[in-house]
């Protein structure tokens, strides 16, 4: 049975990592076939397990580790759909990279690191306990650090890698603090005998955590979930820890595709989904998730409007779409409980297909024209028909274009519109329509920026002299496969929701169902997402294709709004310069150095203690005779005297 080989899902790419690292130089294509084969193996096992456990089985395996904690595997519906997506998309990106990286001399290192990256992400997904989850999560962070800084000789790449690691590290520390708090609370209820671990269960296992929810103090639970969410904010680039993601473009484009689609950023959303029963039990946290997600969706979309680097537009798009996924968990979670996980995960997976496609198309374009700047592209449609077409499909999916009522449309049409409708439902129930507002406006902006990108790159007159050509088959092949999924994945919506709905019940965790029957939303609510999507398309068509509006007035350094957006709300200045360099390094660290050198060493040691001893030494010097025996006798005398004194003072007898 496939479940017997579940550990191989992670181990195969780990083995490929080691082999490629050390043997890659001697193999064709830098050893690329090793990780491709390994990840294909992971995919096949994942698929096999899915077929084996569908519709309501789960796989659990566990071995004890250290200090009462364990290593283990938990494959439930939530995990298995993630496993299939991660391994499948990662495999396609690896195949594409054979072409994309064909000229890079450091290919073995590239393929080794991407293989480890995939392994770490797969390990996040199938962890059965929060410690192993955290460890894998950190290894994902490590690999992103290595891959963003892949061209480490470029100072900007080295800086971006560091920024990615440090900004996500802020989230990681919050996550770790959440684990600390959880562990302490779990221990307390175990010690007080209010709760006992089921036989064969361990303290930080998800199952034990969920079982303990009713016994953990509600305030503590809110803290724990908020701290977990802090980790997710870092990893998934949510406001205010979003800044590293657009800078992470310094790595190869295939790395961006991996980070944005299959690995890394989705881990944050997955963390909230994985621990969702805890969030449902802490409504305040859920509210924070909804607002941070909704705000990020809008906030990032505004910056996507003005970026000129093709990969940066896509990066802000990812930040924005991750915001939608969080929004789904927060709003739908408050209304329909565990079903929210299905809604959010459905968008996560559909996004993985079309965002991987967008990045790989962007890579194909960059490969052809040799620049990232969309102002220097243009007129590429005739030369790159496959890339242009598949990218249009991805753009339509991102914008959520489809036909309501008869339910025909792109993957994004199904997945994103469900989130927006969920936000409306939440607004209706609670009277709080702000998250819904965020979602609708962001949808309009999304459509504008993605079609702006497409029109600027593929239509109009060529703005570059360079001879551009379509990419080779090893690159266009994955594009077409992904395009198929971006077009048709949406039709699995009903089945998908149904499959994930019972996810937590399979573990024996019941999430309180909410009262009331689902009322179909008003027609306008169903239509609105598509309307704004089409509207965005038309706006971009008018401005960037037909040139009906002169944008030069708006796009000028005189326009404060444009300046604000182009400077990314001054986030790099506030984050890196002000907090990173000025406050931490110049103020805190330098004053520490002052204390160390001038006060502890200078004042206390050198002046007070040394000088006193020196004066004393002058006195003693006059008594010294230079004969060793005298020193020895004085030492002994001193010790004897001391012992006598001690006896007199404290001895008692």
């Amino acid at each position: 049975m496939f479940s017997d080989f579940a550990a191989l899902i992670v181990l195969l790419p780990v083995i490929a990592f080691v082999l490629t690292l050390f043997l890659g130089k001697k193999l064709p294509h830098g050893g690329a076939y090793l990780p491709i084969a390994a990840i294909a193996g992971s995919f096949i096992i994942s698929l096999g397990i899915f077929l084996q456990i569908y519709p309501e089985g789960i796989v659990q395996q566990s071995i004890p580790w250290f200090a009462g904690m364990n290593l283990g595997i938990l494959i439930d519906p939530l995990a298995v759909v993630m496993l299939m997506m991660v391994s499948f998309v990662s495999m396609l990106i690896h195949i594409y990279a054979v072409g994309y990286m064909s000229h890079d001399p450091a290919r073995p290192r590239y393929f080794a690191e991407t293989s480890l990256f995939t392994a770490a992400m797969l390990s996040v997904v199938l962890s059965d306990n929060i410690l192993q989850f955290f460890i894998s999560w950190e290894l994902v962070g490590l690999c992103s650090f290595l891959l963003i800084g892949f061209w480490y000789h470029k100072p900007s790449a080295a800086a971006a890698a560091k920024k990615a690691f440090l900004v996500t590290r802020v989230g990681d520390v919050l996550f770790l603090a959440g684990i600390v708090l959880l562990y302490v609370n779990m221990s307390d209820i175990i010690t007080s005998r209010a709760f006992s671990l089921a036989p064969g269960n361990f303290i930080l296992q998800f199952k034990s955590m969920f079982d303990a929810i009713p016994l953990i103090d509600k305030t503590q639970l809110t803290y724990i979930t908020l701290l977990f969410f802090g980790g997710a904010v870092g990893k998934s680039g949510q406001f205010p820890l979003h800044g590293w993601l657009p800078d992470a473009m310094e790595g190869p484009t295939t790395v961006s595709a991996l980070i944005h689609a299959a690995t890394m950023v989705t881990a944050g959303v997955y963390l909230v989904a994985r621990t969702f029963p805890m969030f449902v039990a802490a409504p305040d946290s859920l509210l924070v998730v909804a607002y941070v997600g909704g705000f990020t969706a809008l906030f990032a979309a505004t910056m996507g409007l003005v970026m000129n680097d093709i990969k940066r537009v896509l990066a802000y798009s990812t930040v924005s779409q991750l915001g939608y996924m969080m929004l789904a968990l927060g709003t739908a979670g408050a209304v329909v409980g565990a079903k929210a996980v299905g809604i959010s995960m459905f968008h996560l997976i559909s996004h993985a297909f079309f965002k991987a496609l967008l990045f790989l198309c962007a890579g194909s374009v960059i490969h052809a024209v040799g620049t990232n700047d969309i102002r220097e592209m243009g007129g590429l449609f005739g030369k790159m028909k496959i890339t242009a077409t598949t990218m249009m499909i991805a753009a339509l999916a991102l914008a959520g274009i489809g036909i309501p009522f008869i339910n025909i449309g792109t993957a994004g049409f199904f997945s994103k519109d469900a989130i927006i409708e969920g936000a409306f439902e939440y607004g209706e129930k609670t009277g709080d329509l702000i998250p819904y507002g965020f979602a609708v406006i962001a949808a309009l902006l999304t459509s504008i920026y993605i079609f702006r990108l497409w029109f600027m790159a593929f239509t109009g007159t060529p703005r570059s002299e360079r001879h551009s050509h379509e990419s080779p088959g090893v690159m266009t092949g994955p594009l077409m496969i992904l395009a198929v999924f971006a077009l048709f994945f949406g039709f699995s919506q009903t089945g998908f929701y149904h499959y994930l709905e019972t996810n937590f019940e399979l573990m024996g965790v019941s999430i309180a169902a909410h009262e009331g029957e689902a009322v179909p939303p008003p027609i306008i609510v169903v239509l609105l997402p598509v309307i704004v999507g089409v509207l965005g398309f038309l706006i971009s068509y008018a401005i960037y294709h037909k040139r009906m509006l002169d944008m030069s007035k708006l796009i000028s350094s005189q326009n404060p709004l444009y300046k604000l957006l182009l400077n990314r709300y001054y986030e790099p200045k506030i984050g890196a310069d002000l907090i990173g360099v000025k406050l931490t390094h110049n103020v805190v660290a330098q004053s520490g150095e002052f204390v160390d050198r001038k006060i502890i060493d200078g004042l206390v040691i050198d002046n007070i203690i040394s000088n006193t001893l020196f004066q004393l030494g002058e006195v003693v010097r006059k008594l010294q005779t230079g004969v060793v025996q005298n020193y020895a006798s004085v030492t002994l005398l001193g010790i004897g005297l001391l012992l006598v004194l001690l006896r007199i003072k404290f001895g008692g007898t």
Binding site: H153, L176, A177, L643, L646
Partner: protein, 498 residues
């Protein structure tokens, strides 16, 4: 097979004398590698025979020495000492391997390194306070010479500062040992330096002020050695001037003596001290202060080696914090941190040494892009730095995770403060890597070469050990936990913590 411990100590001692007498460096280094290697084999035999489930002394040996003063040569191992004996025997042969190319007065150089092994093994195995103190002092002398003969430009200042600082601390500790000795004499009317007897009788001292004074004197002796803020300023100076092998031994082994003292001496008497609550708070404050202060000072450094030196202060702060928390797993986490830090810091100081040797400078701003010409060094150094910043999968994470999680039970505020340090710890490590190793190659450095094969091999073995103990902590963690639980039984009984 009795007397394994004394054999383990005697062989490097004999090796040291032979090394001093050799005429060529080839002979000296072969003797050093051979004898420290034999010592390692003996420690591995001890380790494999060690029973992790009991907390009492194993492999005990006792020989009469100065009967009139109650001094005897007593050695033995428990879960506190065994891992550090193993660590010492791993670090010294690998340091000899790393320093395979030493040319200056090689016979003395390798002989002194072997003497260091003798000293630390004696400290970690002695069960007689008098003998313990002798070994404690023996350790200082070779280190003084390693700094003052093979050191950098300000070696005399640093060597003297190191010696005076730690020697004064030792003397204060000696006073406390004498007081304990006197106390036992009063009770039993016999002279006895047996460590456990002396510590056991501590509880019978009547004056609580006197109890606290002894406690503080001992604590002072250990904290200076670790070193803990504010008694740390000797450390950066010593490291900056010390040769690489000296720095490795200093950071990986000598600092561990301070932490060892906390577990061997301080924790057993803590519940019986005059005001345990205040003393616990004092230790916790010093621990967290060391973590944060060490981190921020590391951020301020321009010299790579000085930065690494401050990182040691920060990491050793975790040991103090975990010990002060008095929870079995926080204490075993603190013990694990000692073991782990010994492995990790060796790689860091070796990296500094290779860079200094090749590029002629350790100033971070003067380096840049050296990965281009030193790919092996860059790889191993990155692995070491990641271990040092607490990356999971490596030994440091296990230790820090155990300390942070379990200290929260008794010292929540301090844990929250320590957590703040984690981001900045990552910050200075990555900043240094970015500036010194990555980026554009600084052409002013001229042509630089990668580390020698023996240097790379030594560092690679350390990295493998770090990963091994990061994935599989149980072989050493279990024995630590057994002893930590035993230590804390008395704490709970006394009601210091509930």
């Amino acid at each position: 097979m009795a007397a394994l411990i004394s054999l383990m100590i005697a062989i490097p001692l004999i090796g040291a004398f032979i090394a001093f007498l050799t005429r060529t460096r080839e002979q000296a280094r072969s003797i050093a590698l051979l004898t420290s290697g034999i010592s390692l084999v003996i420690s591995l035999i001890l380790f494999s025979r060690f029973d992790s489930s009991i907390s009492t002394i194993q492999f005990g040996e006792s020989y009469p020495w100065i009967a009139s003063l109650g001094v005897s040569l007593k050695f033995g191992l428990d879960g506190i000492g065994m891992p550090l004996v193993l660590l010492s025997n791993l670090v010294i042969p690998l340091t000899v391997l790393f320093a395979w190319g030493e040319t200056k007065e090689a016979n003395k150089f390798y002989g002194l390194i072997l003497l260091e092994l003798v000293g630390v093994l004696g400290v970690f195995t002695s069960l007689d306070f008098f003998v313990f103190y002798i070994f404690w002092e023996i350790v200082l002398i070779p280190m003084y010479f390693l700094i003052s003969i093979w050191g950098g430009p300000r070696k005399d200042y640093s060597a003297i500062k190191f010696f005076i600082y730690t020697h004064v601390a030792s003397l204060v500790m000696l006073l406390a040992i004498f007081s304990l000795y006197w106390n036992t004499y009063q009770i039993t009317n016999t002279f006895n330096f047996d460590m456990f007897t002396l510590l056991k009788n501590y509880s019978l001292i009547e004056s609580s002020i006197f109890k606290d004074a002894i406690f503080l004197a001992l604590l002072f002796g250990f904290l200076v050695k670790m070193p803990a803020v504010p008694f740390h300023t000797w450390l950066p100076d010593a490291h900056v001037e010390a040769p690489t092998a000296g720095s490795v031994i200093l950071a990986a082994l000598l600092l561990k003596m301070g932490g060892y003292g906390l577990f061997r001496v301080i924790l057993p008497i803590l519940p019986y001290s005059g005001s345990p609550g205040k003393l616990i708070s004092l230790m916790a404050i010093i621990g967290v202060l060391s973590i944060l202060y060490g981190t921020f000072l590391a951020l301020a450094q321009r010299d790579l080696k000085k930065m690494v030196a401050y990182s040691s202060i920060s990491h050793m702060g975790y040991v103090t914090l975990g010990a002060a928390a008095l929870v079995p797993l926080s204490v075993s986490g603190a013990m694990y941190q000692q073991f782990s830090h010994g492995l990790i810091t060796a790689v860091l100081f070796m990296s500094c040494g290779v860079i200094q040797h090749s590029a002629g400078t350790r100033i971070i701003h003067d380096l840049g892009g050296i990965a281009k010409h030193m790919p092996k060094l860059a790889f191993l150094m990155l692995a070491g730095f990641l271990a040092s910043l607490g990356l999971p999968g490596m030994s440091g994470f296990i230790a820090e995770f155990l300390i942070l999680v379990n200290s929260y039970f008794t010292l929540p505020t301090f844990v929250i403060l320590a957590l703040f340090g984690i981001v900045f710890t990552a910050g200075y490590h990555l900043w240094a890597m970015q500036r010194a190793v990555f980026g554009t190659y600084n052409e002013k450095l001229g042509h630089i070469h990668d580390g020698a094969d023996y240097e790379v091999l030594s560092m690679a073995i350390f990295i493998l050990l770090i990963i091994f103990f990061g994935l599989n902590p149980n072989p050493v963690l279990n024995m630590m936990t057994t002893n930590a639980e035993q230590l804390l039984k008395f704490v709970v009984l006394r009601g210091v913590i509930t």
